[in-house]
């Protein structure tokens, strides 16, 4: 009896979580004729992949995806390059500044992005970087940096200090100890941070909306939002198809890290 109730509840959750996803997939596979039908059905009567082809053809999906990719790659690399030395400094040297920095990372999560986007927009305008991809990449670096710093200093902290000291005792200089002992152990953490920064940038919408006014430089989220025009219903199929395609990179990222998420990576991040 009790078990039956539990299964019923679990089933309820599965339905709630899954039904919008099933509907998105269903819409992506429907013909325009079926979309115009006033009696929507779960399963497409004549499933088609034409919407995916249309999505590529109609709007500048490929171009936007390429621009999103460029911005995400650039901002991920810059974020890690800037954050890694700082993360090392914060993790290794306990001081008052250390506390301030950790407090800063927490506080920066509290401030609404509007307080960052306005000054950045003014600076970008002065530098003639509005409507450019480097401008957006720079904004994304600023936006991702605090959390990346937080992640990386956690990974540095996980490398036992004794290993470094042992290497120094064996006659390796500080830099050699870093390069040969610490760096290899940090690779997984750096990769995880790169992926995090990449996905944050790939998914990001508000900054892109503010910085990129010109449709010719729009990133993927912007192009998707502008997809539905006055034509309405018939274009929902290609929109759904394009949305599914835009989800692939972050889905792949989560497929890679989901095991670690389940084992409570985030709990550690929250508890500090």
């Amino acid at each position: 009896m009790r078990t039956a109730l539990k299964y019923l509840a679990l089933l309820g959750y599965i339905v709630f979580l899954a039904f919008p996803l099933v509907w998105l997939l269903s819409t992506a596979l429907k013909t325009p004729q079926e979309m115009a039908n006033l009696d929507p059905t779960w399963i497409p009567r004549r499933p088609t992949l034409a919407n995916f082809a249309d999505a590529f053809g109609e709007q500048d999906i490929v171009g936007s995806a390429a621009r999103s990719l460029a911005v995400a790659l650039a901002s991920a690399v810059i974020t890690v390059v800037v954050a890694l030395p700082a993360a090392y400094a914060l993790a290794r040297f306990r001081s008052a500044l250390n506390k301030v920095a950790i407090g800063w990372v927490l506080v920066s999560q509290v401030f609404p992005v509007i307080l960052i986007i306005i000054p950045l927009f003014m600076v970008l305008r002065r530098l003639e970087l509005v409507n450019t991809l480097p401008g957006l990449a720079l904004v994304h670096v600023t936006f991702t940096l605090p959390f990346a710093l937080w992640m990386l200093q956690g990974y540095v902290r996980a490398v036992p200090r004794e290993l470094e000291e042992a290497a120094s005792v064996d006659g390796a200089g500080r830099l050699r100890a870093l390069a040969s002992v610490v760096a290899p152990l940090l690779v997984p953490g750096v990769v995880a941070t790169l992926l995090f920064a990449f996905i944050s940038s790939w998914n990001e919408f508000l900054f892109a909306l503010v910085v990129l006014k010109d449709p010719e430089v729009a990133t993927l989220p912007l192009t998707l939002v502008k997809f539905t025009g006055p034509e309405g219903v018939v274009r929902l199929g290609p929109l759904a198809a394009a949305s599914l395609l835009a989800t692939i990179p972050s889905l792949a990222f989560f497929a890679v890290i989901q095991r670690r998420l389940r084992s409570g990576l985030m709990a550690g991040a929250v508890k500090g």
């Binding site: 679990l10 090392y88 001081s95 000054p119 759904a240 835009a246 989901q258």
Partner: protein
């Protein structure tokens, strides 16, 4: 083994030389922190300063310091208070409902049920989706003609354009979107509750409900405080999802504070005023989270 080997050596070195060495190295590391200061702290400080000016979006407009004038305007701005009220309704209901739903799911996932693996993966999917795609997906669900919701319920409601239904409809999407984080964190917390406590309580004759109330919940408390606080902050600062769903409509019924600020700044060009709004929301959030941050700082030590 290694621990016992290392400890005496470290203790023998003494704290004083260690501290001196640390200070030297820290001076060397300082340059590493400068880009972070320039890229991350700088814009925010600039943004806060803007709240006390009459900055406008035009290129050649003069900007001057106006003190607290913007804050005065804000306090008498009816539209702001309406947006603030909607923002609080949104943030509190999403945070609370999301927490309850996620706690239920986490408790189920912590048990030995079939379909558990499937449900766990499914529970992570919203997390892996761009907010824009989530918004578009739910627009398909809510679509008055081609949407599945009206078809299933046999209703004829324009969910996202109806004055009374739009906000609840948007809140439901907010819950759906935020459940993964909350569930994962709560599940991890549940798995850290020592099994012995449960067994001891069971031996003492406590039933399932009492064990949950007296053992699980108190053990889970720090995790609950942390995740609900974070959820609250994320929700009050939400923009993309609601922008994609309704753009703040119908008639401002879903205009969260960040949508209001976005319009003030980038539609009407009142940079200073929008920054003031940002500062005001920050003050509210900090007041709500004061206790939480204080605890975090203490733990971080």
């Amino acid at each position: 083994m290694t621990l016992t080997d290392v400890r005496p050596a470290r203790a023998g070195r003494g704290p004083a030389p260690n501290r001196a060495r640390n200070r030297d190295t820290f001076m060397l590391m300082l340059p590493a922190l400068i880009p972070v200061l320039v890229l991350s702290v700088g814009p925010l400080v600039y943004g806060i300063m803007l709240a006390f000016t009459d900055a406008r979006s035009g290129r050649n407009t003069e900007t001057s310091f106006v003190g607290l004038a913007n804050f005065g305007d804000l306090l008498t701005d009816v539209d702001f208070w309406e947006s603030f009220r909607i923002g609080m309704i949104w943030a509190v209901s999403v945070t609370v409902l999301q927490f309850l739903a996620s706690l239920g799911l986490a408790l189920l996932l912590d048990q030995d049920l079939r379909l558990r693996g499937f449900a766990r993966v499914l529970a992570l999917v919203p997390w892996a989706m761009p907010p824009v795609v989530i918004g578009l997906m739910w627009r398909l669900v809510y679509h008055p003609d081609a949407g599945i919701l009206n078809a299933v319920l046999g209703t004829d409601v324009d969910w996202l354009n109806d004055f009374s239904v739009a906000l609840p409809a948007v809140i439901l999407v907010g819950i759906w979107m935020g459940m993964p984080q909350t569930t994962v964190v709560l599940l991890a917390g549940l798995q850290n509750v020592p099994k012995e406590l449960h067994e001891a309580a069971g031996v003492d004759g406590a039933g399932v409900w009492r064990r949950f109330w007296n053992v699980t919940l108190p053990q889970l408390r720090p995790v609950i405080v942390a995740i609900t606080s974070l959820d609250f902050v994320w929700n009050i600062n939400q923009f993309s999802l609601v922008y994609v769903l309704t753009q703040g409509g119908p008639g401002g019924r879903t205009r969260l504070p960040m949508l209001f600020a976005y319009e003030e700044a980038f539609r009407y060009g009142f940079f200073g005023y929008a920054a003031t709004l940002g500062v005001a929301i920050t003050i509210v959030v900090l007041a709500v989270l004061g206790v939480y941050l204080w605890r975090q700082m203490r733990e971080a030590d």
